[in-house]
Symmetry: C2
């Protein structure tokens, strides 16, 4: 798959692989946040000169694109491709899988939603969704619309969730993040925001799995 296409031509053997570069990039993102995956940082991590990276990718954008593809591909499609399970269940599995995959790399999330989702893995994901929605009884065009809506919901949720924490590094446990939000929201004055001020506890927990599933079900209810 990731075989070097340049064997049988002159020149020294490649010392690196694309995957090594992506590994390094992801690792930097994981403990440095979205801006930590610099070309120089990547190169340093694998012990090579900065511009050696450009042998494997034309520019940084290509690295990011490949990394996004890889992250999307790492979601296990097998689980929700199982047509024996009820479709809502499969949808839930898919949504949770994607969320788990992406929130495990919060620094990468801005990169995922920062570019067009038109790579092979995004298309594959879309295809699984279309199958699933067909099984749910939707006509192709409605299924396509619904698939896009679900994309919006899933990636929108994840984006808002990771945007909520500013410190780089792995996402703290849900409970801790909720506690932080609660603290922040407790400062909301009742004067201009009476309704928000009265709902701070609820609002604090909107980054939770529970709310994520609740929202998913509302969307699915709307699609029917």
């Amino acid at each position: 798959m990731t075989a070097p296409a340049t064997r049988g031509r002159p020149g020294p053997r490649r010392a690196l692989t694309q995957d090594q570069i992506l590994d390094a990039a992801l690792s930097l993102l994981d403990d440095g946040g979205a801006n930590a995956a610099s070309v120089r940082g990547i190169a340093a991590k694998i012990g090579v000169a900065p511009n050696a990276v450009y042998t494997y990718f034309p520019d940084k954008a290509a690295v990011v694109k490949a990394l996004v593809e890889r992250l999307l591909g790492e979601a296990d499609h097998a689980a929700f491709a199982d047509r024996n399970q009820p479709w809502r269940q499969r949808m839930e599995t898919l949504a949770l899988e994607l969320r788990a995959q992406l929130t495990a790399h919060p620094g990468a999330v801005p990169l995922v939603i920062g570019g067009p989702m038109d790579g092979p893995q995004a298309l594959a994901l879309n295809e699984r969704l279309l199958e699933l929605l067909a099984d749910a009884g939707l006509k192709p065009t409605t299924a396509a619309r619904a698939s896009y809506l679900l994309f919006v919901y899933v990636f929108g949720s994840i984006a808002l969730e990771v945007a909520d924490v500013q410190r780089p590094g792995p996402l703290p446990p849900e409970s801790e993040r909720i506690a932080t939000r609660h603290l922040a929201f407790s400062a909301i004055p009742a004067d201009p925001y009476p309704r928000a001020a009265a709902a701070t506890t609820a609002m604090a927990s909107f980054i939770s799995t529970k709310q994520y599933i609740w929202g998913l079900h509302r969307v699915l209810d709307g699609i029917i």
Copy 2:
């Protein structure tokens, strides 16, 4: 409102205002994309040394934060605060208003969804949503959940829409963007993606106002 708080103290008069800086930043974003709003660019645009900006904002993040607040605040709340209209209508007005406001500045969108939406204007928006959903008959906690869901939908949609074009500058007209997508999607092979390949025309138009409204209605249907 934005009065200089430092009058009645020694020192030369300020040559700039925060708004001038935000104007410059927005203008740079508008015709250079999300990375174009550099401190140096802003300073050059208003004819001042780069570090003069730091008199008005502690760092670049603060500039971005203020700019986001301003963009959110520029949505006209009056239209959908009118309780005489049916609530679905008001919701539609709100959603369209926000989309228009943000897609008018595509370069700013990554900045909007890149940080926590907890500023005064985000809270004000949330408050309007809560009022609206209360008028729709929802109980406070359900209204709060639904409000967050709508945030996710609106900003998620806008983010995906803006991420779809890579060239900086103003968003091309919808028809042109759809045509571009159509062209790109026409290359989708039927082999691994039969369903997607059969729906390219539909998929191309998912960045449209029509799809946006359709999705909104599905979400509202789900909320009831």
